[in-house]
């Protein structure tokens, strides 16, 4: 049973890049950052670390130490984007699977083994431009289309260890996975002048590279939890596949630091804040220095109200907001993403049932802006979490 779940998750991870939505900000650098957050973290505007209660997140590897049941978790993320570039409007939508995780506690040693597959960069986008060209002595319409399909994800194995009642540490190692295919298509519409097929040329690259992460979770007070993580990335290598010409391309991906804190304000109300930082420099890599913004900071704040209950089950309501810098410029300007978040947790199994069956829903309304491009979007996150002895 557990093997079947594992294979299913890996299969989803492999296909997940093909289901990603798009943003035109993804046309820059390594694509649009796509954090592997679950529905609860999204709803709270969190960076994914320092949340109250047990959680299963590749960004907070130590948090799994408080999971006492073998648990599987899957997050779906549909999104709908409206944008405007130089007065031209665009609409896109799509779904991705930003996070899939398994946790297997070994109670005898006081820790939990975890497996995470999470997205890092969304590289699925497609743009078209139209022009005129003289063919066969006539000016005919020409459409150029560049499509990018794929993304960068991380496959991570880790261990979270409880050290007493208040402290947990986590460590994980992993590998970048994913690929991207870029396809250029030119369609010449010569009408009755000639029978013309589209011109198509493409390239495909597979990503690889080592990653490692460390994290902690500490409850200095019964009403306060602190969490943090550092995610190191070795050189990200993009290796040509198939008939794609050229040599491998290396990218320097910076270490990312995340901090989060949660405090219990009342027995049913909690406050959460988070912050993250990464310094995007690529002195020896292949990213155009002009596209790198340097320091990338994000912060978020949210509240969780655990009042609504039905019998032994509770349905916490969450609200929050988050501001994130994007690491790659657009037309020379630094883009940022601002979102208002909200959501609800559906804990379908009562705590005493010996089962975990929960759904976390999150809704985000956000904007991204830089230079002549602006986007507003709705993003939903649905996390399914099941656990059992």
């Amino acid at each position: 049973m557990k093997r079947a779940i594992l294979f299913a998750l890996v299969g989803l991870a492999i296909s997940s890049s093909g289901l990603a939505g798009q943003s035109l900000f993804g046309t820059q650098g390594l694509g649009l950052p796509a954090e592997p957050l679950d529905g609860r973290a999204r709803a709270l505007g969190s960076m994914g670390v320092g949340l109250l209660g047990p959680s299963l997140s590749p960004l907070d590897i130590a948090a799994a130490a408080r999971i006492y049941l073998p648990t599987a978790q899957l997050t779906l993320q549909p999104q709908w984007i409206d944008g405007e570039l130089n007065g031209q409007s665009l609409t896109t939508k799509g779904t991705r699977f930003p996070q899939m995780s398994l946790a297997y506690p070994l109670l005898g040693v006081g820790g939990t083994a975890v497996l995470h597959i999470g997205t890092n960069f969304d590289q699925r986008w497609e743009v078209e431009t139209s022009s005129d060209e003289e063919v066969l002595g006539s000016v005919v319409p020409v459409t150029d289309r560049l499509a990018s399909d794929g993304g960068i994800s991380t496959f991570q194995l880790g261990w979270a260890q409880r050290l007493g009642d208040r402290l947990s540490l986590g460590v994980g190692v992993g590998s970048r996975i994913g690929s991207v295919t870029r396809t250029f298509t030119r369609i010449v519409d010569a009408g009755d002048l000639a029978t013309i097929i589209p011109y198509v040329t493409s390239g495909e690259w597979r990503y690889s590279g080592l990653t490692a992460s460390l994290g902690f979770q500490w409850d200095p007070l019964p009403q306060l939890r602190l969490g943090g993580s550092a995610a190191w990335s070795g050189t990200l290598e993009a290796e040509p596949r198939g008939e794609t010409e050229g040599s491998s391309t290396d990218f320097d991906v910076p270490t990312e630091f995340r901090l989060g804190a949660s405090g219990i304000l009342t027995p049913r109300l909690a406050l959460h804040v988070g912050f993250s930082f990464a310094d995007w420099q690529d002195p020896e890599g292949s990213l155009d220095p002009g596209t790198l913004v340097g320091s990338v900071k994000s912060f978020g704040i949210g509240m969780e109200w655990a009042c609504p209950t039905v019998g032994p089950r509770n349905f916490p309501i969450r609200l929050g907001m988050k501001r994130s810098d994007l690491p790659f410029t657009f037309e020379g300007e630094t883009p940022s993403e601002n979102v208002f978040t909200g959501g609800i947790g559906l804990n379908l199994m009562p705590p005493q049932s010996g089962l975990i069956g929960a759904i976390d829903l999150a809704f985000e309304r956000g904007t991204r802006e830089a230079a002549s491009l602006s986007e507003s979007f709705w993003r939903a996150s649905v996390t399914f979490r099941v656990g059992s002895f």
Binding site: L19, G21, Q22, L24, T27, L76, W80, G83, L85, N86, Q88, L90, T91, T92, K93, G94, T95, E126, V127, E128, T129, S130, E133, V135, L136, V142, D144, R145, L146, V180, R182, T183, F184, R186, V188, A190, A194, T195, I196, I197, Y199, V200, T201, S202, G203, A238, T244, E245, G246, T249, S286, D288, L348, M349, S353, I359, L361, A380, V382, F384
Partner: protein, 445 residues
């Protein structure tokens, strides 16, 4: 069931309902809409599209015309003509099976019986024409005569009654003559599509002979300048059955074979491409694609020369033919479909087997107007996949693309008329038109 079990079941049901609802909603967003059509420089790939036209000598060689495919009897319609367009004569020959030997009639008790004691008291040949394709204004005179000798429907011609291996028999008179006149009739297309030529009892008796019936009749049009398409011919006999002598019964004599002969036969094509006709013509040539292009100037300015041809850059390849008018009597009066098929064993021409059509549509539609008057219409025959194969073959030894192609009518034979195109020696000779696109190499950065 205990209350706790009820609660547990209720929990499971509500959990399942929530999971299903949420899953359907989430997966509903999976439908991708990702293309953004935008003006501006968001496609960081420079591309250029150019077209190149190669004369016949630069892409092919050895144009030949081959004829003799199919016979007139294979056509669905036969033709009669007299000095059509000042030159074409055509006659229809129709042989019959022996007369029926019995008729099924009711006897005095109302029972159907086979009556073999027949007395033929009259007869007629009924011919039906295609009034739409008939080329003549007003009534025309039709003549029917009995053929005096046997003929072979598969090889019969204007001069020969039989033309098979080891057996060549000429008509006594060119044009399947002489015939024993059976009668004539004036047929007015305005009054209907059929004409009836009465056959007298003497000639009815003549055709009672099996050999004479097999020889059959010759249908001719007497009016100068007329050309008619025969849609059908029947020979009907009137008989009085012995069981009911006062009743007239009409019997049909079954047609055995039919064909038509015509004169003059077009000369073999010289310096032209010809497809169609009956027997049908095919034009065969051999592709010899260049490795690189050295012009024209526009191409070299755009992408540099010499330019190595690659399959990837090829987005269109078409054979361009310029139509010319065939002799007036053989100009198409309806659409032709021209096909292109590889010749699999050129050394066995004209009997080489052909490969499958290179055209997705099974043929290029040729309008009759393309071959009338000044003609000169440019006909595009798309050969993109084939030419791409020829280019790829130069670097892929596993490919073996037939180089010799046949241009032919999609259906052979289709008609007496045929299509003609300018040959390689003409300034408007066959051309190969290539449209190429070149783009920057796709990168990941």
């Amino acid at each position: 069931m205990t209350p706790s079990m009820h609660r547990a079941n209720g929990l499971k049901r509500s959990a399942l309902a929530v999971l299903l609802t949420t899953g359907v909603w989430a997966v509903g967003g999976c439908q991708e809409e990702i293309t953004a059509t935008l003006d501006g420089d968001l496609v960081p790939v420079d591309a250029v599209t150019v077209d190149v036209t190669l004369p016949f000598s630069e892409f092919a060689r050895d144009l030949e015309g081959w004829g003799g495919y199919g016979r007139p009897h294979e056509l669905s319609q036969d033709i009669v003509a007299r000095s059509f367009e000042g030159s074409l004569d055509a006659r229809v020959l129709n042989g019959f099976y022996p007369y029926p030997v019995y008729a099924t009639v009711k006897d005095s008790t109302g029972v159907f019986v086979a009556d073999s004691a027949l007395t033929f008291v009259g007869g007629r040949v009924v011919v039906r024409f295609d009034t739409i394709s008939a080329v003549h204004d007003g009534p025309v005179e039709i003549a029917v005569g009995a053929l005096p000798r046997e003929w072979d429907y598969r090889s019969v011609g204007w001069d020969v009654a039989v033309d098979s291996v080891g057996d060549r028999q000429l008509w006594d008179e060119a044009g399947a003559g002489p015939v024993i006149p059976l009668g004539t009739v004036i047929w007015d297309p305005a009054e209907g599509d059929s004409a009836v030529i009465e056959v007298d009892s003497a000639h009815i008796a003549l055709f009672a002979d099996t050999a004479a019936a097999e020889a059959g009749v010759r249908l001719d049009v007497v009016t100068e300048g007329a050309r008619l398409d025969l849609a059908g011919m029947t020979y009907q006999l009137d008989t009085r059955p012995s069981v009911h002598p006062d009743t007239l019964v009409t019997l049909f004599v079954t047609n055995r074979w039919r064909s038509f002969i015509y004169d003059p036969v077009p000369d073999p094509p010289a310096g032209e491409i010809r497809v169609g006709g009956v027997p049908a013509w095919r034009s065969v040539f051999t592709f010899e694609m260049p490795d690189s292009l050295y012009g024209p100037t526009e191409l070299c300015e755009a992408v540099g020369c010499p330019l190595a041809l690659t399959g990837q850059s090829l987005i269109s390849a078409s054979l361009i033919l310029t139509s010319r008018a065939p002799p007036a009597a053989f100009q198409p009066v309806d659409s032709l479909f021209m096909d292109v098929r590889p010749v699999l064993e050129p050394s066995r021409l004209p009997k080489s087997p052909l490969g499958s059509s290179l055209l997705l549509t099974g043929g290029v539609l040729l309008a009759p107007e393309d071959f009338q008057g000044e003609a000169g219409a440019e006909i595009e025959i798309p050969l993109g996949s084939y030419v791409e194969g020829l280019i790829l073959e130069k670097t892929d030894p596993d490919l073996d693309i037939p180089k010799t192609l046949a241009l032919l009518s999609s259906f052979e034979p289709l008609s007496l008329y045929f299509g003609a195109f300018e040959g390689p020696d003409s300034p408007d000779g066959p051309k190969l038109r290539l449209i190429l696109t070149f783009a920057d190499e796709i990168g990941i950065r």
